[in-house]
Symmetry: C2
Amino acid sequence: MKPINVGLLGIGTVGGGTFAVLERNADEIARRAGREIRITTVADRNTKRAREIAGGRIKITDDAFSVTRDPEIDIVIELIGGYTVAKDLVLAAIENGKHVVTANKALLAVHGNEIFAAARRRDVMVAFEAAVAGGIPIIKALREGLSANRIQWVAGIINGTTNFILSEMRDKGLSFAAALAEAQRLGYAEADPTFDIEGVDAAHKATIMSAIAFGIPMQFDKAHVEGITRLESIDITYAEQLGYRIKLLGIARRREQGVELRVHPALVSAKRLLANVEGAMNAVLVQGDAVGATLYYGKGAGAEPTASAVIADLIDVTRLHTADPEHRVPHLAFQPERVRDVPVLPIGETITAYYLRMRVLDKPGVLADIARIFADGGISIDAMVQKEAGEGESQTDIILLTHRTVEKNADAAIARIEALDTVQGKVTRLRLETLQGI
Amino acid sequence: MKPINVGLLGIGTVGGGTFAVLERNADEIARRAGREIRITTVADRNTKRAREIAGGRIKITDDAFSVTRDPEIDIVIELIGGYTVAKDLVLAAIENGKHVVTANKALLAVHGNEIFAAARRRDVMVAFEAAVAGGIPIIKALREGLSANRIQWVAGIINGTTNFILSEMRDKGLSFAAALAEAQRLGYAEADPTFDIEGVDAAHKATIMSAIAFGIPMQFDKAHVEGITRLESIDITYAEQLGYRIKLLGIARRREQGVELRVHPALVSAKRLLANVEGAMNAVLVQGDAVGATLYYGKGAGAEPTASAVIADLIDVTRLHTADPEHRVPHLAFQPERVRDVPVLPIGETITAYYLRMRVLDKPGVLADIARIFADGGISIDAMVQKEAGEGESQTDIILLTHRTVEKNADAAIARIEALDTVQGKVTRLRLETLQGI
């Protein structure tokens, strides 16, 4: 069969990795795909770097749009990133009848509904395994491997930068700022780490997973997004003492009235595999009604792990590019006419457990007052620890773990607690995920 | 689109689960597959039980062959198990142009080459996600999700019965026999547990994974198969003290001269996620050259987890049943004409590390003699522990961990050690897997 010609837009880290793996494993890939898959054109603003990486045998251009129009190109890989040029390029490729492979989670989370609608009109595929959890084939697992299930929830460590920082904070007792600096020094965090540490990147990925898990549109603007910048070392220590680790989780959960879609730090029992995912690794836990819990673990970033996902998509698209659309897996797992407009619930409607830390005066009756407030709010307490006051100190910390409750009720109780004379300052509240049933 | 009609052969545990999940999730499945998938005929020797499970609206027969000939049936699910009738039925279905979905690892590991050749001749699909690791979509991950990679090795906990027994032995200090009895009481082990505890079931699954990971034929008869029946509690205890857990692993590893294909108990560092897979759970670790290590975890058995895999296959087959064969993923991941006759290496050529336990006289020079034998054999010692002799005892245990070496060299050294006057009885040898590179 004739080779498949691929145009690569953007030859940075992942683009370079894709180029290298396609070359190195050309034989193994052809053994699987049944034909050669070759990058024939690379578009990059830095044509000099592109030439250094891609060598002399292929076409190099700084005009990415020309690639989307090239009649010789069957598939366009978009690895430029961001929402602006990348969006125009992806839409142009689609309009020109090209299949698209992209690793661009921001683009899909924010403009995915528009992009997939355009792809359907033109009968082309838009594949995006690399957009979530790098080399872990989680999109395929959700879309195809677990297709028998009513998926109940997905919870993942889907940002390696923040997981690395949290591992460093715990292992070495570092502050957030020190751990971030270490991550930057080692190349795990970018110079501007905002998207990672504020949870935005994880929220892009959680949004994509919510769409393919539940058959709903992308609703990134409705996601609750909370990063790790305000996390204090003391809470990591206390959590550890109680048998928990703090992870930045991306969670999509189906409820009767809608879906929860949220990214925030959360306590996870140290006995769980998910709590033991360390450093820059990623892992996604999926709960399906038939299969129960399954977990997918691996490298969520990096040149070759991400290239692994990009090329897997290339092979899938190669196999199906001349097939009728009904022979293909729907872009977002569900038939487009069967996607349902299920709303994302406000964060106050979230149901989860909580870790609360409060500074209190070390005197009789304090605990009783606090316990009464929770009882009034119908919130059950799972564990309570009062730290011994230091020598000569009149204040101490109380740490409380609640059972699952509705977030707005927890917040109401916290407001009442903060109003007590005996409680100093604000209550620190972290969510605690049991990762079981609904 | 018209519904897909499925004939189910065998409505035992998994068949019942498949029936139940297809009914319960009919809407969710149709939202994905774009059409209804319905079981229209069930064949089971026990027609009364079949009727109880499947209800009155579908055809029940005790003649499974009639289902394979039924022109109304598009896909046949084989859940009878074993090599004999199941083989005839699968081949009959293929000859009649039916697509087949099966959970039968024994059949595929032993007769897979013949079955897939027949399926190619008739242009039908034979899907088998449920044959390995139950509900975990590991076949899809290996065949499609990691298709960019040269896969270097696969190592899995792929038999829940033995993992449950090993967890019980470790947690409760039980003997193998007591843990087996407990597993039988709780339904995790069958009345005749031979296939599980002797490693045969795991070897079937490892054989299937080796074929799709490396693009080689099924070579079950060449697999090295060792179960857990001779495992002693003392070694679990000693391993634990050294920071290791003992797991029954199925391993397929690519080497220059051939592949290692082996099932046996092995020490795994307790820090590894794989070592922390407890009870009846399954997990598979895959090392690819681009993606690095990825891990897949979930329930490896049970009615609905296995049904999850069976139905995922049904949906895949439904999507592609009218597509041209080149639009389908090859049965065994690689194009049939590109499968290579790579030999399975004899077990003596295995390269791995070892745990050795020996009973020695508690007198000077013993350690020196043993160390000399290893040095002569070019085997490096990673750790050595000599247990303190009990009060009034003249013998003690030495435990040794070696670095990686060729198995026949390790065995030669062990033979020399056993010949020493100061060493009592046989040396206990267990493999220790570092689960890193080659």
